[in-house]
Structures are given as C-alpha cells and as structure tokens.
C-alpha cells in the first residue's frame, strides 16, 4: 500500500513530462530516495533489524552469566563462535563474536528477505506498474532497488556492530585490544579495525543481495522469492561443508565469509579477504546483469 503512495509521491516530485536525460537522472535520484525511505519505514525491515540487534545482547548476557562467578577465565578452548573466549577481557570482542555469529545465517537471511521482496513484492501487490509508468526506466529502477538492498546490508551490519559495542561496553571492560597474533594495539586502532571489519562483512553480503534481486525478477510472488533466496543460501552453506566438494567450494559465495577475522592478524593477512571481495564482485556482476536482462525484457502483466 505504501508502495503506491511512494510512487505517487515520486511522480509528483518530478512532474517533468519530457523524458530529457537530466530529468530522468533527477528522477532516478528521487526514486532511490523514495525506495530507501519506504524500505526502511516498513515494519518488516524494522523487525529484522530488531532481531539482528538482539543477537549481540543475547550473546553478551550469556557470556556474562556463564563467567559471572569467577574472574572471567573464559577457558572455552575454542568452542562456540569465534573470539568468544576474548569477550570477557574486552567488550570490543563482542563486536567480532556477534558478526561471526550472525554472518553465516542471520545477516544473509535478512538480506535475502529484503532482496527477494524488492521486485517480486511490488509485482505481487500490483504496484510495479505504477513505478514503471514513470520515465526513469527499468534499468534505473533496478539500480535503485539494488542500491536500497545494499544500503540495508550496511545498515544491518552496523546495527549488529553498534548493538554489540554498546552491550560489550556495558557488560565488559574496554581497553587495549589483543589481536589474534598475540600483538596488543590501542583501543582507538581496535575501533578502526572493527569498523573495517563491519565494512568487509557488509560487502560480503553483496553476492547474496544480487542473487536475491535476480530471483526476485523471476517471479511475481514476494514470498516465493524470499523463500527461494533463503533456501539457496542454506543449500550453498551446506554444500560448503562437504569435504568431497572442495574443488568447487572456493567459488561458493559464503566460502570466504569468515575471512574478515584475518583483519585481526598482525600484519593483516589479505589473501582471503581480497578473494572474498573479488568473489562477491563476481556474483554481483553475474546475477546483477542476469537480473537486468530479465527485468528489462519481461512483460509485466500485473
């Protein structure tokens, strides 16, 4: 419902009837803005972000309760999510733990919901037609949709990171950060590394976002698109576990996801991080162009 309103608002904001390139570009920008605002105003989006914000709180409280009695000698021996043994020493590590815990499933699932719904949801509720009447063109509309999904990727990652930092600061001491190579750096540099890690995590989701967008252009049912995207995600994650498939695993999009931890080495070990970003760019290019090919050539009947 709000879709149609937004489309109307967009149309009135740029009433220029002549499809002059400048006007079209302006329209594209306002289209992007209206896309972003409508997406982030939805209850569904806010609920997803709320769930993501709750994960660090749960992890933080669990760690606090478990180590509450004795002076925090988190002798886990590497069980649980990565970095969890460090959380009691430094609240900043809750950021890394939370990202490591949410990256395999929660984050991509949220992205899958937003991306899968982006085009198919409009088609399903019959609002896609209104968007296409405007002179911005389908390519621009698709770009706006993809940019919105990307904005959600960054927002979701930031929500996890900020919530984790807040919980970590409340429950645990902050201070100098011990890198996993055993080197100690100041808290400021640690924060910078945390920011870089959040950026890498957000960029790790570019591939899923493109995949979801492509799936979304295939169907007119938003639910089907979301389910397919999340289903594909789970399937690929499972395939990534079998040692027999090691030949193809380097080309599966979640394969290098946990490589963000390499930013905590000293010196930083870039190999896997760069491979991850390259792989995500490849997925974005392939599925983005596939979505474009599909979306710009299909007849929209509803």
């Amino acid at each position: 419902m709000s879709r149609a309103e937004a489309a109307d608002a967009g149309a009135t904001a740029a009433p220029a009837p002549a499809p002059a390139p400048a006007a079209a570009r302006r329209w594209g920008l306002s289209l992007l803005l209206s896309e972003v605002t409508t997406t982030f105003r939805r209850w569904r989006t806010l609920a997803l972000l709320g769930v993501l914000a709750a994960v660090p709180i749960l992890i933080g409280i669990a760690v606090k309760i478990e180590t509450g009695g004795d002076g925090g000698d988190g002798g886990h021996g590497g069980g649980g999510p990565a970095f969890i043994s460090q959380v009691t020493n430094n609240g900043l590590f809750l950021v890394f733990t939370s990202l490591a815990a949410t990256l395999p499933f929660f984050l991509p699932m949220a992205i899958g919901v937003i991306a899968g719904d982006s085009v198919a949801g409009e088609a399903g509720s019959g609002t896609l037609r209104y968007l296409l009447v405007a002179p911005a063109g389908r390519t621009r509309l698709l770009l706006a949709k993809y940019a919105t999904t990307m904005a959600f990727c960054f927002a979701a990652t930031l929500v996890v990171a900020v919530s984790a930092l807040a919980v970590g600061a409340l429950l645990f001491p902050l201070g100098e950060v011990t890198l996993i190579s055993g080197t100690t750096i100041g808290f400021g540099e640690g924060l910078l590394r945390a920011l870089a890690i959040a950026a890498v995590v957000a960029l790790s989701l570019v591939g899923v976002a493109a995949l979801g967008l492509f799936v979304s252009t295939l169907t007119t049912s938003g639910v089907a698109a979301m389910a397919t995207t999340v289903g594909l995600l789970i399937t690929v994650q499972i395939l990534d576990q079998f040692p027999q498939l090691s030949a193809i695993q380097p080309y599966l999009f979640p394969h290098y996801w946990l490589s963000f931890a390499d930013l905590l080495r000293d010196p930083v070990y870039w190999d896997q991080v760069l491979r991850n970003l390259g792989l995500q760019a490849l997925y974005a290019a392939v599925f983005g162009s596939a979505a474009w090919a599909r979306f710009t050539t299909k007849d929209i009947t509803v």
Partner: protein, 443 residues
C-alpha cells in the same frame, strides 16, 4: 489488464522499434548474453591463470646438482618473511571423529589438564593432515616467528633471544619457556623425516619450513640416492631451480623429493615429497609469498596479552609435557609409524641402509596384545575402549604372517609399520615385503 512492455527509449534498448516479436526476442537474447559473458570471462580467467601458473618456467643458466647444493649450503640468508602453504596427505584412513585414537585421545586430554591449552605437540600433529597456511619471519639465528593461520584464530610461536612464546588465540592461552641455546643444530640426525614430537615441539613446528626439510633430506642422502637438477620453476614469484632427489633402492616407498631452490639466494622455497605409489604429493610445503627484507623489529616482540592464561614451562611442566607426549606416543607410531616419534629412541635398532632403513623396537607386551585385538589396553583399560581400539585397528591394519609369526601391517603412503603379536615394531619408509623380510631376519 494491459501488458506493460519495456520502453525502448528510456531503457537504452537495442532498437528503437519496440514492436514485433522478432526484434524483442533478439534483444532478449542479447541481454541474457551479458550475464553469460560475464560468467564465461570469469571462468576463462580463472582457468587460464591456474593453467599458466604451473607452466611459465623461467629461463635460467644451467647448473649442476653439486653447484646447486653448494649454493644452498653457502646461502647465508638470515632474514626472511613470507607465507608458507603446507599440504600433507599421508594416506591415512580418515578416522571417525570422537573415536579417533581410541583411548589415547582421552588419555592425552587428561594429561593436558582439561585440554584448556592446546599444547605445541598437538599443533604439530595437526600439521600432519590437510592443508595449512603458515606465516614465517626470521631475522638472524635467534629471532623467529611462526604463525599457524587458522579459521578465525591463530597459533603463534615466537622466539626472541632465549625467550620462547607460544600463543593460541582460540583459547587465549600463552605457553612460555626458555629456548634451547643451540636452536637449529642436530636436527638432521638419523632419518627422522617426520619432525619430532615430545618437548621440542616448537622446534618441530619450525622444522616444517622448507629450509629445514631440505636440510634434513640432504643430510640423509648418500650413495643410495640420485640427485639431479630437474629444470626450473617459479615459486612465490621468484625464479628457482628444481633439485630432484630419488632413492635408488627398490624397496623404498619414496618416489621423489623435489626442492625448488631460489636461483638468486639459494634459499629453498618449496619442498615436495611424492610417494612411489603416485597420487597427490605426500608433503607439499612451499612459500606462496616470500620477502628477504628485514622484518619489522616488533614482529618478534611479545608480551603476554592481558587476561591470557600463561603456562610456564619449568621443570615440572616439562615432565608433564613428556607425560602427555607419551600418551601420544602410543597412538602415533601405530597410526603414522613415523620413526623417531614413538618409542624410546635409545631402544630402537636400525637395520638396512639409507632410504631402506628399518627401525626396530619393542613396544612391550601390552601393545602387542592390543594389536592382536585381545588386549586390555594398559592402565587406561576399560572394555569399551579396548573394543573401540580393536575395531579401529581392524580398519587401520591388515594382518600378515610369515616366518616371524603373525602381526599387523599399518600402511600410509610413505611409512609402513609392522607390529608383531609379540610386541615388536618394525617401522620404515619401505614396502610391506621389506618389513616382513626384516622381521624374519630378526627372528
């Protein structure tokens, strides 16, 4: 409801005429070609780079094997840093997790005090299977650093002067000891090709670097060995000669050892050990990145991080370490059969020469009984454990009999071990027949 078709002018379509099924279909085909082309180009790029990675052999002046070895020996490179990739495929049967190493796994954990601090010894055994990435840095004989890059964790061993630190980030524990004064000497003794277990494990980890592996093999070579220069290769972006070492003895299981030696500095960059039976290399350790510049000084600085649990390796700890080592010793020779890892080295008798040497030692009645499948396995006993061990042994070893009686042969790609029912162990990098022959001769 009316169909809304793509508007050609705003979508930058191929043709201005939006009507007619033919052009529409063609345009569709052209657009779908874009993702296919992107995927195709990516696949081709990956294929071409991996195909050419192995071939572009550099053109280097010819060199004799002796000159090459001399070059290696003269090499006084003290400063090196880089990334090493080690792939090991010993041809072990994959053990069911949980049941792995039967009773000994549990015994080992008990020895390690709750297993809170993965000891350097267990890290060393980790290197014996799969693919691992190591980061190494060295500046002179008394500053070294070695980090085992793990998934979201790292295990670092840092040596600075006489201080030896081991830090495990997964459990946030530190292991501290005084390093021995003579670090790299005396390691080439014997035919110990598997690295040492026991207390000197950090040294053992160190021994995984290409230099140490190459040195060991050269120390072990004699007239039973053919050493040739087998062309050139590019390793970690540097031109290198390939030194090929092949055993002449027929009963050896070693196919060839290849060492890629940096053409400029004489530093070994890659070490490949292939089995005679073929297949994937048994050990493939090489630099993927290497730099001969001076590593930053703070690379070798280590202070235990706040909150980390520090274990000091004083005399008591060393004893404990040895105890834990003994627990592993029961498991290792049976599973790996590496000479020098298990048993008391003093009690071992070596027969045969060069590559065909066979170590013979007595594992005691317990081991023999356990191998025969009827044992209560020593103090750790427990019928379930014994049954587990029996099942495990059945999956690992085949039964053989001969003039010596009967026993089991445990084989890997390189090392075979014969454990007789009366508790004698014959281990060597030789074929099964040679082991049986040695056992018969010992009878």
């Amino acid at each position: 409801m009316a169909r809304i078709q793509p508007t050609p002018d705003t979508d930058g379509a191929a043709g201005p005429d939006g009507d007619g099924g033919g052009t529409g279909r063609r345009r569709k085909a052209v657009r779908y070609a874009v993702p296919v082309a992107v995927a195709g180009v990516a696949a081709a790029t990956i294929g071409i780079t991996s195909a050419f990675a192995g071939t572009g052999d550099p053109d280097l002046p010819k060199i004799s094997a002796q000159d090459l070895i001399a070059k290696m020996a003269q090499s006084d490179t003290q400063r090196i840093s880089g990334t090493v990739k080690i792939s090991t495929d010993l041809g072990l049967p994959s053990l069911p997790s949980g049941a792995s190493f039967g009773a000994d796994g549990q015994g080992g954990k008990g020895g390690g005090k709750g297993g809170a601090a993965p000891s350097p010894e267990s890290k060393l055994t980790e290197l014996l299977s799969g693919t691992h990435t190591l980061r190494v840095a060295a500046d002179g004989p008394d500053k070294q650093r070695l980090s085992l890059v793990e998934r979201a964790a790292e295990y670092s061993v840092i040596r600075n002067g006489d201080q030896l630190w081991a830090y495990d980030s997964a459990s946030n524990t530190v292991h501290h000891s005084k390093a021995p004064q003579a670090p790299a000497e005396g390691k080439g003794k014997g035919k110990d090709k598997g690295g040492k277990g026991g207390q000197d494990a950090p040294k053992g980890l160190e021994a995984a670097s290409p230099q140490e592996l190459a040195k060991k093999v050269l120390a072990a070579s004699d007239e039973s060995t053919s050493i040739t220069v087998g062309g050139t290769a590019k390793v970690a972006g540097r031109d290198a000669y390939q030194l090929v070492i092949k055993p002449k003895q027929g009963e050896s299981t070693v196919g060839s050892v290849r060492i890629a030696v940096d053409a400029k500095s004489g530093v070994p960059l890659k070490f490949t050990l292939a089995a005679k039976s073929g297949g994937k290399a048994v050990v493939d350790a090489g630099f993927t990145k290497v730099d001969f510049g001076k590593p930053a000084a703070d690379t070798f600085a280590f202070t235990p991080p706040k909150g980390a649990k520090v274990t000091e390796a004083d005399g008591k700890d060393a004893g404990k370490g040895a105890g834990a080592g003994r627990d592993h010793k029961n498991a290792l020779p049976e599973a790996l059969g590496l000479p020098g890892v298990g048993g008391d080295a003093s009690g071992a008798k070596v027969t045969g020469e060069g590559w065909a040497s066979i170590a013979q030692f007595s594992a005691g009645k317990d081991a023999g009984a356990a191998v025969a499948g009827k044992g209560k396995s020593g103090a750790k006993g427990g019928e379930k454990n014994a049954a587990d061990a029996g099942a495990l042994l059945d999956s690992l070893g085949g039964k053989v009999s001969g003039g010596f009686g009967s026993g089991r042969v445990f084989s890997t790609k390189i090392v075979n071990a014969l454990v007789t029912d009366d508790g004698k162990v014959f281990v060597g990098a030789v074929s099964k027949d040679a082991l049986v022959k040695a056992a018969n001769a010992a009878k």
